[in-house]
Amino acid sequence: MVEETWKVLRLLGVDERYLRLKWVSASEGNVFAKEVRDFTELLRKLGRNPLAESGGNVLEPVDSATA
């Protein structure tokens, strides 16, 4: 399911790195913490999810020069 979602994101032109899947065992607290820290940092760098942004995200007629 996650792999298909990556592909859909790619088709929609959304950076696939917004969606991450990692397997971490319950005994590996430090691995989990590092993973979440890295992901948060990356998300900060990538900025807001372009699909979820409110305002200005709805399709309006385009100028054909930019289409």
Partner: protein, 373 residues
């Protein structure tokens, strides 16, 4: 859509639609005539709350036979707008993924929907002919493998290239809004197509080709009602090929039957009954020498729907209709079913998986490409 008193009077004595409807045969409580009667005679507003409004395939089998010229699919479509407002919603197939993808295409995004084409053939960013690829690249990802979704645009591009045509394809193309429109969300349909119109205009195209009958009928029949006359010619790929292929200097290999049985054609509801295109696909199949073409008993105006529309209400009823169609093809002596609609191909292939049927289900573009010399 206005239904006159005269039409209503006639209708109350009739019942041709219910007798023709594939859903009525499977679900005894489903009656198009009763829905019209309840709405127009009894002024019964519960119609907006009934689930049958979503069970209709909008396949037009009823309306092409209606002696009073009542367009029942259009009646359903309009009432779905109302039903949606009342919170009466359909059961979505594939967990609603395809509806979500269509809605996301109404956002300001920069798609990569033409990536498949780089390996498939040659194309341009401006020119006379625009090939509207439709949502097949998304279907290919979301639907289970083996249903052949991605093969349709690939084959069309290759066919056009063989004819010396490098069509425009665009990452900026959006969903045509067919499913939104038929699910009672006309606003979404308008939003997507305001954009599509600008993208096509910007390409300078004079002709727009559709391999998907849904996009085709949207542009041919629904868009002019909303946006006025379109500034380009709208053609289904089968119409275009039937016109251009015979003179294009392309020859076809004789068909090798080798015990695989006859070849039959499934008329898609949108292309056949809705748009009246019955002959071009048959003419194209007929270009192949020694083709053992057979018709199924239900063909052309009487053809049978592939069992679901707009990615909703896929039920045991859909499966029963699909299996009945496969049986019909087999009984007609066919080993191959050719369709001209990506969704017919998907639905019939899906139904066939895990059954004892072993028909080869393909689309007309892949078929022609395979037969080219």
């Amino acid at each position: 859509m206005v239904i006159t008193q005269e039409q209503i009077d006639y209708c109350m004595e009739c019942g041709v639609c219910t007798g023709s409807c594939p859903i009525s045969r499977m679900m005894s409580n489903f009656s198009p005539r009763q829905m019209i009667k309840r709405t127009l005679m009894d002024r019964d507003e519960t119609v907006l709350h009934c689930h049958e409004l979503w069970s209709c395939l909008t396949c037009a089998r009823c309306s092409v036979r209606c002696p009073a010229a009542i367009d029942f699919p259009e009646f359903v479509r309009q009432h779905r707008e109302g039903a949606r407002k009342e919170g009466n919603l359909p059961q979505l197939a594939h967990h609603g993924t395809l509806q979500a993808i269509a809605a996301l295409q109404a956002r300001n995004i920069k798609q990569r929907r033409t990536e498949w084409a780089v390996d498939a053939g040659r194309f341009a960013s401006s020119g006379d002919i625009f090939f509207f690829i439709g949502c097949a690249p998304y279907f290919e990802v979301v639907l289970k493998p083996g249903v052949g979704s991605g093969e349709v645009p690939r084959s069309v591009l290759k066919l056009l290239n063989r004819m010396g045509i490098e069509p425009v394809i665009s990452n900026d193309e959006r969903c045509c809004g067919h499913d939104a429109l038929w699910s009672g969300d006309e606003e979404m349909f308008r939003r997507l197509n305001r954009w599509n119109l600008e993208v096509i205009r910007g390409s300078g195209a004079k002709t727009v080709l559709f391999s998907c009958p849904e996009g085709y009928t949207v542009f041919k029949q629904h868009m002019p009602k909303v946006f006025g006359e379109l500034p380009f010619e709208v053609l289904h790929v089968t119409e275009f090929l039937a016109r251009e292929l015979p003179g294009a200097g392309i020859t076809f290999k004789p068909y090798q039957e080798n015990g695989s049985g006859g070849v039959t054609y499934q008329d898609p509801c949108r292309l056949g009954r809705q748009a009246g295109i019955f002959d071009p696909p048959r003419e194209l199949i007929g270009l192949v020498p020694e083709i053992p073409f057979v018709e199924m008993p239900r063909n052309r105006e009487n053809s049978a729907c592939c069992g679901t529309t707009a990615w909703m209400e896929c039920s045991s009823c859909s499966k029963a209709l699909q299996l009945e169609r496969l049986q019909e093809a087999q009984d007609a002596g066919a080993g191959t079913i050719i369709t001209a609609c990506p969704k017919c191909r998907i639905h019939l292939t899906c139904a066939e998986q895990n059954t004892e049927y072993s028909l080869h289900i393909t689309d007309i573009y892949a078929f022609l490409l395979k037969q080219m010399e």
